[in-house]
């Protein structure tokens, strides 16, 4: 009986602690090792301040996106992964269409995962690299709010850049 507190210690220490993340969009649940989930500063803050229950609800992030985020965290929690492996794995995660990338960048921003935010933002930027503004509008779904005169004036500021573009 005297060893009861010790037992408790043994029970919690060696066993891997897990957290359950639940997407509030489609109620999908993911069980992840704590050290994997703690790469998210948001989750870490919740755990540190004892705000995290058995199930951590993740609002505004779908299960599909949450799965990608967890894949990223798992890769980066693996101490034996080489830098090259991680780069390849990251490239695989962000090899998605623009809609997924936008959801992913929002998720990385919400969960505060710096590395994922970095690679996703870069991938979004790369999708419009060297493209003229008409193409950028289409890809980014942006409505042109310039009058033709205003647009011409902005364009004239750096007209050399537009040489060879319509």
């Amino acid at each position: 009986m005297a060893s009861a507190p010790e037992n408790e210690k043994n029970a919690s220490a060696p066993e891997k602690k897990t957290l359950t993340l639940k997407s509030m969009i489609n109620n999908e649940e993911f069980v992840v090792d704590e050290h994997v989930a703690l790469q998210s500063v948001t989750i870490k803050n919740m755990v540190d301040s004892d705000c995290a229950g058995d199930v951590i609800p993740v609002p505004t992030i779908s299960g599909e996106i949450l799965a990608l985020v967890i894949e990223y965290c798992k890769n980066h929690a693996n101490p034996s992964a080489s830098e090259d492996d991680l780069k390849k794995a990251d490239a695989g995660i962000v090899a998605k269409d623009i809609y997924t990338l936008i959801d992913l960048v929002l998720a990385a921003n919400f969960l505060d995962i710096k590395g994922l935010l970095e690679v996703t933002s870069q991938k979004i930027a790369d999708s419009i690299k060297d493209l003229p503004h008409q193409d950028v509008r289409e890809i980014f779904g942006v409505e042109n709010d310039y009058t033709p005169e205003e647009e011409a004036a902005v364009r004239a500021e750096h007209d050399w850049a537009f040489e060879g573009f319509p």
């Binding site: 599909e64 090899a95 998605k96 269409d97 623009i98 809609y99 997924t100 990338l101 936008i102 960048v105 929002l106 921003n109 935010l117 933002s121 870069q122 991938k123 979004i124 930027a125 790369d126 999708s127 419009i128 690299k129 060297d130 493209l131 003229p132 503004h133 193409d135 950028v136 509008r137 289409e138 890809i139 980014f140 779904g141 942006v142 409505e143 042109n144 709010d145 310039y146 647009e151 902005v154 364009r155 500021e157 750096h158 050399w160 850049a161 537009f162 040489e163 060879g164 573009f165």
Partner: protein, 364 residues
Amino acid sequence: MDIERRKRGRECDPSFEERDDEQGQDLTAATDSALSFCILELPTHLLYDILSRLPPKTIFFCKCVCKTFLKIVRDPYFAEIHVTKAPDVAASIVLQDCSVPSEFRFFYMLDLEETSSSSSSYSNHHPPCRHPRRSGLSKSLTVRNTKFLFCSGKVTLVGSCNGLLCLRHDSRPPALHYICNPVLGELVVLPPLTFFVNYSGFGFCPKTKQYKVICFICLSCIDPMTNILSTKAVSEICTLGTQSWRRIGDAPGPLPQCSFNSFLNGNLHWLTDHGVSASNLICSFDFETEQFSICPVTYPFRPSLLSYSPRKGTFKNFKALGTDHIQAIAHIPSFVSLKDMARGKTVKLDKWRTGEGMHIYISS
């Protein structure tokens, strides 16, 4: 139905992978599924971050996309975060061919491709003006400077820092220093100096966010006691945005014919022999404390052109081969606007105009 389609699009749309090969198809795919999606819904700081990762030309295109993008690109904060990412995106080289008469000494700015490293150096035996295009240097941003070539203009390339370029014009006693951002087409003239300048250096103090120009005047004097002739370098400094030069004391003068534009991490570096020692020393000048310090060179080396990426902490090596008469410095284009520095009315802003001033055009 629409939602179904968009979902499917997400799962199997490989379009953003193969954009380069099938751009046309891609755009249609993007339009088809562009349902209730707009990048402007992203939090503003993410938009700043995404746009700041683009090369200068695409950023200009983005200004034309919509008013929100224009506002972002014109924000000084955008320039600030762009500077930290710029070395990973684009690097240029600024060249001056000194073998021709001074009135033809144009400046050339060559964009090196993003993926380029030391391999895509400008390896040409001819002066660059005769071959502004080389393979590997696609869509160069070429800068031809005619503005500074008034009188018997002699313009020296002083240095490049955070996308700002410093030039010195010293054909007449008041040596003039110019600071310009070639990408934005902005130019500032520093207060004139009344004496002949031997060397100038250009740098930035990250702490105070001030740009400074330091110049060296080499003086010879004869000690009245010993009758021995000695030379010393007197230095003066000017902070961009102020109206005067300040004397900061004697400095270890640079070796003749030595590069004087190695600015890194708030310090300017040059080779010196300190007037006495037979071996070379590296002298550095801290733009924050305005102090000189000296460290010995442990091995002989040849000066070469490097650019430094603060984010990765890595160096890029450039080689400018050709005649000895070509001056070259590495330059990272930026959106740092001189207007932001011109608080008050202390700096003069000139806008370059095509036709009479600086010509900025793409040679492709």
